[in-house]
């Protein structure tokens, strides 16, 4: 990683010692009100009993987690065998989110690199252009994408017109459509952090590599990518995490076959058919998974940093 330079943030000065408590208050408030309280609520709800027609009964129960992991037969009276239904949905979600992250990365890196290497004055314009579609609400964008991809939609029409295909493709309600949806939903979250990293990158390093007989490809692999790695990782997290929990794209573009965790959770809180404790439990499982992935990453990063010195 960027080594010592990225270690900032330690407060050394005594200037603000007395007022530090006060100055930190907004940060603490944010953490408590927006993170700690909701997550605790979710945790508590996941251990409550469900009420029919939504809501909960304040009575401790493991039913939600049992439903998630255990298959107890049609009448619910058999011993626990592994329930694959939800695990499959989780697995599909991870796979979809991972693919979306990969595609975003592949497209974003050249884009971000291109923008960061334009003259200072035109960079803002490029960034502006990149973000314009995202001023439109995500729901509307996803619905529009449905129109684009449907059988008599513009994408199929163009493909038929060019002659690549004879008959319109079934794109809607496929995992491919979900993939496109996720990719398009979160692309700027990948472009922006990578752009920020490339902009900070010292291009003399590329010259130094070329001077030391490295080809363009080797320079990219051994010098540029390691230097902007923090930006790449930030982008991957910013795309992967929301993709994992996304429900608009899978709902509107994927149909029933391409159910993802987000839709599963959403469904539990929607209308009368919901099951709040189960939704809460699924959320907790999703949250733990994200935490585990991030922790593993952080552990590996600190190891890599430690090895350098």
């Amino acid at each position: 990683m960027a080594g010592v330079a990225s270690k900032g943030g330690e407060v050394r000065s005594d200037t603000y010692r007395d007022s530090r408590t006060w100055l930190l208050l907004p940060a603490w408030l944010t953490l408590v009100v927006l993170v700690l309280v909701p997550v605790s609520l979710m945790l508590v709800y996941s251990f409550l009993t469900k009420e029919f027609r939504g809501g909960v009964v304040w009575e401790f129960s493991l039913a939600a987690y049992d439903q998630f992991f255990c298959d107890r037969g049609l009448f619910g009276d058999e011993p626990c065998s592994i329930e694959w239904n939800y695990i499959t949905i989780f697995w599909r979600s991870i796979w979809q989110a991972g693919l979306a992250t990969l595609f975003c990365l592949i497209v974003s890196f050249p884009t971000a690199y291109f923008i960061a290497t334009r003259p200072q004055s035109t960079r803002v314009i490029w960034l502006f252009l990149i973000t314009i579609p995202y001023w439109v609400n995500l729901l509307i964008r996803t619905v529009s994408m449905r129109f684009m991809l449907r059988e008599e939609g513009p994408v199929n029409n163009v493909l038929v017109w060019i002659g690549i295909i004879d008959d319109p493709l079934q794109m809607i309600n496929t995992s491919f459509a979900v993939q496109i949806g996720l990719f398009y939903s979160y692309l700027p979250f990948m472009v922006l952090p990578i752009y920020a990293a490339v902009e900070r990158y010292n291009f003399t390093l590329s010259e130094a590599a070329a001077d030391l007989y490295a080809t363009k490809y080797v320079t990219l692999r051994r010098v540029i990518i390691p230097s902007i790695q923090p930006g790449i990782i930030a982008g991957c997290i910013l795309v992967f995490v929301p993709s994992l929990g996304a429900f608009l794209a899978p709902d509107l573009l994927g149909g029933a076959k391409n159910f993802m965790i987000g839709s599963l959770i959403e469904e539990q809180f929607k209308g009368n058919a919901g099951n709040w404790p189960f939704g809460a439990a699924a959320s907790m499982i999703l949250l733990s998974m994200v935490m585990i992935i991030l922790t593993l990453y952080a552990r590996q990063q600190s190891k890599a940093l430690g090895a350098g010195s």
């Binding site: 080594g3 010259e207 070329a210 030391l212 007989y213 490295a214 080809t215 051994r222």
Partner: protein
Amino acid sequence: MPNKPAIIVKDAVKRYGDFVALKKINLSIQDNEFFTLLGPSGCGKTTLLRMIAGFEDVTEGEIFLFGEEIDKLPPHKRPVNTVFQNYALFPHMNVRENVSFGLEMLGQSKSDAMRCAEEMLELVRLSQFASRKPAQLSGGQQQRVALARALAPQPKVLLLDEPLSALDLKLRKAMQLELKHLQRETGITFIFVTHDQEEALTMSDRIAVMSDGEIQQLGEARDIYERPRNTFVADFIGDTNLLAVKVESISGSMVQCLLKGGQRLKIAVNDKIKIGDSLHVSIRPERLFVSDVDDSRGTLRGTVKDNIFIGTDINSLLILDSGDEFRVRASNSDRGNKRIYAPGKQVFVTVEEGAARLLVD
């Protein structure tokens, strides 16, 4: 031919749009030479160096490396290495990996490259820092890593762009000697860029003095210092007194010149000049003697304005009767011979034989 020049730059022009950064540069740099490009900031030194390294296209002209044209080759195909001004060390690699990078790129196995890197680090006395990241080193140490990294692949020519400018004075002096020593030891041709004339004089076999994208003078340090070709060089290299004069009469190789205030000076000259020309004369401050008696050799008269002690020397500032300011330097060690006079005192200045130089432009 056994002694092909290491680098030949032939009619090289560099334009950025309408702006001409280099105007028809011609250079020939010998093998094993410590060659310096010297000039004020913005004169095109870096541009010329980067053209040799391959980071800038040559607008017109050619560059040869040991007889082989290289100006069309990409940088990674030119067997020259660069020490960058701000070192440009790879921040995510440790010192050893930085130094072995070039060797690996040349196809050496990782273990060979590492071994060679260790040797280079020994040469620049940094062995104990091999596992550190660049950010954990001081400026001087980073400088030496950059040097080791550029020398490791044994380039045919080493390019150095103001490599010492970020160091403090003492370290800079030490590194100057170290660089000179390294150059002798490795036998690699060094092309060294600096704006510091003292540094250039200390280190170089030959110097090209540049200004405004042109080479003003090319020669050995001593030659340039003692026989500057024009007012720019005289003024830029070392300290000098430049006086406007008019040619009054010529007899043989001696020219009689008239100064502004009506005083006269006899100067030897080779250049073609004619009576009535308006020229400049350059006289180095250390080649002047001041006396309070007019011993008839004394040609210039003036008044002492100030004396400034600068350690090894004492600088006296005089105002000549012509109105020109005039600096005289006396070494602190021969205060007995060269006397220092109090401000306000009227004095006579003698120019050492051959010290005055007439400059055509």
